[in-house]
Amino acid sequence: MNRKISQQIAFTLFRIFGLLVVVILFSILGFIVVNGIQVINWEFLTTAPKDGMTTGGIFPAIVGTFYLIVGSLLIAFPLGVMSAVYTNEYAGRGWIVKIIRMMTNNLAGIPSIVFGLFGMALFVNKLGFGDSILAGSLTLSVLVLPLIIRTTEEALKAVPDSFRTGSLALGATKLQTIRKVVLPTALPNIITGLILSVGRISGETAPILFTVAAYFLPHLPTSLYDQVMALPYHLYALATSGTDIEASRPMAYGTALVLIGIVLIMNLIASFIRRRLERKWKRN
């Protein structure tokens, strides 16, 4: 009897904690939606901020964030996938791989503001890119590189070795085996890594602070060397340093909602692609 009661108490507690996560998530979402939805309209999404950022829209920031996502993925995705292919498929089990893995894990643990500082020192100043989409994308790509490497490695590990030996036994070279069998099989899981990276890139403020983000820039960028506004930084600016913080508060909530919305839409698109790729092969 006693055992039964303690069981029940334990389960109840676990259930409460489990539900707590849902409650927290939904209260944040609900809070943002309730406060943000009132400013969302066509003008908000398609025009630049006006009147000291108390009215108007956030179009330049949406575009800027979009450019940064695309730019950093273009750099980090091929690099990350290739480096994961190297460590998982080519390098064997020697000390080089151990060091690479350790460094990748350490890189993942560095606070993002440090990446910002590093990006400013290297890309903005040393390489002379200035505050620019290029410098910002490079900084963000260094930030998400460990994430992409890790998820790609996991994806490659999930490919059964029998596929590799089967391919090699037919006279395929190692490179052909990787290109035609291993990577296509791992693709759905690699895309998962991509989804996580999009969320990370679009939400980070610190790395873009000194490398690309503009406080207020009503026109759109015309080259890689231009600064852009970006949603997370714009949100920060609206909430802390606008000309009239009270008046721009609704704009801040609207920005937060759009940011969450973009990440959500990206996730949905990517998991749709992932699901389709998976359904194609995983029948049993």
Partner: protein, 248 residues
């Protein structure tokens, strides 16, 4: 014709094969039997150099396939594996369509144009006794097939690149009895065009499909003779004990 001369093989310090020499005749089926860990699979994998993929292994001796020493420095391993096909213990089709599975070897080896590939895929599936079952669903995933069908698909895949030798590593051990029977019939049919070497745990299977049988124990080739003789009147006591089920 396949010939092994004085083969020694090591995993790190462990000697898995001890001074093995044997010849396998063309257009015949040679079976390797023996208890687990006796070295028969290791020996089989020498002939398409699959052991190369395992770290810290070492080989001494000579392996000759179609008059070539396949461990010669000049030997191209990818070419060798085209010439010596392999079927594995568990069916391992690629996550591709049935057609693409069979076409794979042709594509990676740059063999033939579209039409040739089309024809070759069909021929191979016919040879592997699978064509009638799959001809209407060539563009379906290979994973939709049953285990036995998948294994025959893997055989078709190996046949497509026109090997002269086919190595089979317990090809029916993961299959049900009826699928096993089909594979055995298939081995019998393929014998006229290929040299087949099969590793099996199942002694009845060795007796049914093979012309010659080699009995391995603790890395040594204990006895190698005509299958009939081996099972009716073995020379060595160990062989007698093993095939009568006294151990193993």
């Amino acid at each position: 014709m396949i010939e092994a001369k004085n083969i020694n093989f090591y995993y790190d310090e462990f000697q898995a094969l001890k001074n093995i020499s044997m010849k396998m005749e063309p257009n015949s089926v040679t079976a390797f039997i023996g208890p687990s860990g006796c070295g028969k699979s290791t020996f089989l994998r020498l002939f398409n150099r699959m052991n190369d993929l395992i770290d810290n292994t070492r080989m001494e001796g000579e392996c000759i396939v179609d008059n070539q020493n396949i461990y010669d420095k000049k030997m191209n391993v990818d070419t060798l594996r085209k010439q010596v096909g392999m079927v594995f213990q568990k069916p391992n089709p690629f996550p591709k369509t049935i057609f693409e599975n069979v076409a794979y070897g042709l594509r990676v080896n740059d063999l033939g144009n579209k039409q040739f590939i089309q024809e070759r895929v069909e021929e191979s599936l016919i040879s592997a006794a699978l064509w009638d079952e799959v001809k209407d669903k060539l563009n379906k995933s290979a994973f939709e097939l049953s285990g036995g069908q998948q294994q025959r698909l893997c055989i078709a895949r190996a046949l497509a690149v026109s090997p002269s030798v086919i190595l089979m590593d317990e090809p029916a051990s993961a299959l049900d009895p009826i699928s096993t029977l089909k594979i055995e019939e298939l081995i019998h049919d393929l014998k006229k065009d290929y040299t087949i070497v099969i590793v099996t745990h199942n002694m009845q299977q060795a007796a049914r499909v093979s012309d010659k049988t080699g009995f391995f124990m603790l890395g040594e080739l204990v006895e190698y003779s005509d299958t009939k003789k081996m099972f009716l009147n073995p020379e060595k006591e160990e062989t007698q004990n093993y095939i009568t089920g006294r151990f193993g």
